[in-house]
């Protein structure tokens, strides 16, 4: 699994989804990337949840939030990213800057 590049304090890291069944079990949400757009970002994300990025597009993309995370998404790939800090994280695809989204983590 490709590691996220971190800048400054460790905000968000890539990790496998946490095991289900724990008290207040973290959840895994999927964000589909297709036709040069990020799919709907689920609301109600919490620290400990995992975002699974799934690239169904023909093209190399990334989910990049400057100073926070930089997830490479080759065509057909999926990557898990565990949320370790609350906040709002605007992100883009660094290859196609018109692709934008925002994660809100509580």
């Amino acid at each position: 699994m490709r590691c996220a590049r971190l800048a400054g304090a460790l905000l968000i890291t890539i990790a496998a989804a946490a095991p289900a069944g724990a008290k207040s079990a973290p959840r895994t949400v999927t964000v589909i990337v297709d036709k040069l757009a990020f799919g709907t970002i689920p609301a109600g994300l919490h620290v400990g949840d995992t975002v699974r990025w799934v690239n169904r597009d023909l093209f190399l993309h990334s989910a990049t939030s400057s100073g926070h995370f930089d997830i490479g998404l080759p065509p057909g790939a999926q990557r898990n990213m565990r949320l370790t800090r609350a906040g709002q994280f605007a992100f883009i695809c660094k290859y196609h800057p018109g692709m934008k989204g925002k994660l809100t983590v509580q």
Binding site: K35, L36, L58, F59, H96, G98
Partner: protein, 173 residues
């Protein structure tokens, strides 16, 4: 030829010339050939940039052009094979290729910042022209739904490229 004249010439080929050459609009085999040729031209331009430019941002953009246009062209080849369609050479794609050869030759004499600016300006104009042709002529004329869908994906992608090229052009001023 100045950049604006080259863009005007390419526009005439893709839009005015295209409309004149195809009564009722180009056929799917002709559209496939034009779209594939347009992608091949931009890949060649990007490869020239990767040889001549030392600017990190320009090189990154050129790598993006090679990667994305190759992906679209590979998908287009797979589609025409699946549909048993043979792309048909036509005056528009021939004219585009001729125009592109002239541009490559002109840029081959430029160096450093002069090359970077000329390449990026050419990319802005080229994508603008191709996007206009896709939106106004090629997509409306396409009959096959899968071809139309691929062209629409191409238009979304090329608009991203145009925006990226415009940002790069502003940064190079």
């Amino acid at each position: 030829m100045t950049t604006s004249l080259r863009i005007a010439a390419a526009s005439a080929l893709l839009i005015g010339g295209g409309a004149a050459a195809y009564a009722g609009g180009p056929t799917d085999p002709q559209i496939a050939h034009i779209a594939y040729t347009a992608g091949t031209i931009d890949i060649a331009a990007a490869k020239q940039a990767l040889v001549r430019s030392h600017n990190k941002a320009v090189r990154s953009f050129a790598q993006e052009m090679v990667r994305d246009h190759t992906a679209v062209n590979d998908k287009a080849l797979a589609l025409v094979k699946k549909l048993h369609v043979t792309p048909e050479a036509n005056p528009t794609s021939a004219g585009l290729s001729k125009q592109a050869s002239a541009t490559l030759a002109r840029l081959s004499h430029l160096h450093g910042r002069q090359f970077d600016r000329a390449y990026v300006a050419s990319e802005v104009g080229y994508h603008k022209t191709v996007n206009g042709a896709l939106a106004d002529t090629l997509i409306p004329s396409a009959n096959n739904a899968e071809l139309k869908s691929l062209l629409q994906t191409g238009l979304t992608l090329f608009r991203e490229h145009q925006q990226h090229a415009e940002q790069l052009q502003a940064a190079l001023k």
